[in-house]
Subunit: 110 residues, 2 copies
DNA sequence: TTTAGCAGTATCCTAAAGGATAGTGGTATT
DNA sequence: AATACCACTATCCTTTAGGATACTGCTAAA
């Protein structure tokens, strides 16, 4: 019973790890916390991400309802990515992760 | 400035992701939350982890001061792994991750 | 009309994580 | 004396993430 409970929790932890883990997803979410951005704007912001990877990661985040993808078909093509409400709900979690990470850094290095 | 700050935070997030991320580390920590365990006990607990991987992950967690490795040389060899104080400090963080993960599951599936 | 920017796609390649399987040196059990 | 459990180590192999590079179809500016 206790074990079953633990299994379920592990699944949830795994979900969250998948979302903010990896080389880029956390960075993309952080960048969009700042403000909504277009594809190439994100690309520049993230430095050396390849378009292939950026496309893939954005699709993943969209599937997980963390970001919106809005195509504005004015004369020229423009695609805007922004956090959903659900995506913004990650911010406090990321904050606590950051504070634990900072304590951790001190303990491991100091 | 705001950007520099963000970079630092990303580094911290990355640290934490490394620690509880991956296929096994979260599971190992969760299993040790329950109680201290020996190598083969952990192995059985985790199901289908290979000894090669378990050894590697335990070393990583030990290096990061999250678990203790104690060798008891009675007549027969026995090695006990347990959470350090620092390791136990992860529990509340894991709890908030779990609750966000549960809300997330509902939103994505429902 | 060439050039540049937009939002990607397509193809190839490398490095790292981690599974499969077998073996090691020790002790305790039958 | 043979078998089994302990805590691993060694070797090989597959899968996956993600980088490098080139290209596409479109529009706007020079």
């Amino acid at each position: 019973m206790r074990n079953k409970q633990k299994q379920i929790q592990l699944r949830d932890v795994q979900d969250v790890i998948d979302i903010i883990g990896g080389r880029w997803r956390g960075a993309i979410l952080a960048s969009l916390c700042d403000k909504e951005k277009r594809f190439n704007e994100l690309k520049r912001d993230l430095g050396n991400i390849t378009p292939r990877t950026l496309t893939k990661e954005l699709k993943y985040l969209e599937l997980n309802k963390l970001i919106n993808r809005e195509v504005e078909t004015r004369s020229t093509l423009s695609v805007v990515y922004s956090l959903t409400k659900h995506g913004r709900s990650l911010e406090p979690l990321i904050d606590s992760i950051v504070s634990w990470g900072q304590r951790h850094r001190k303990i491991v290095l100091g």
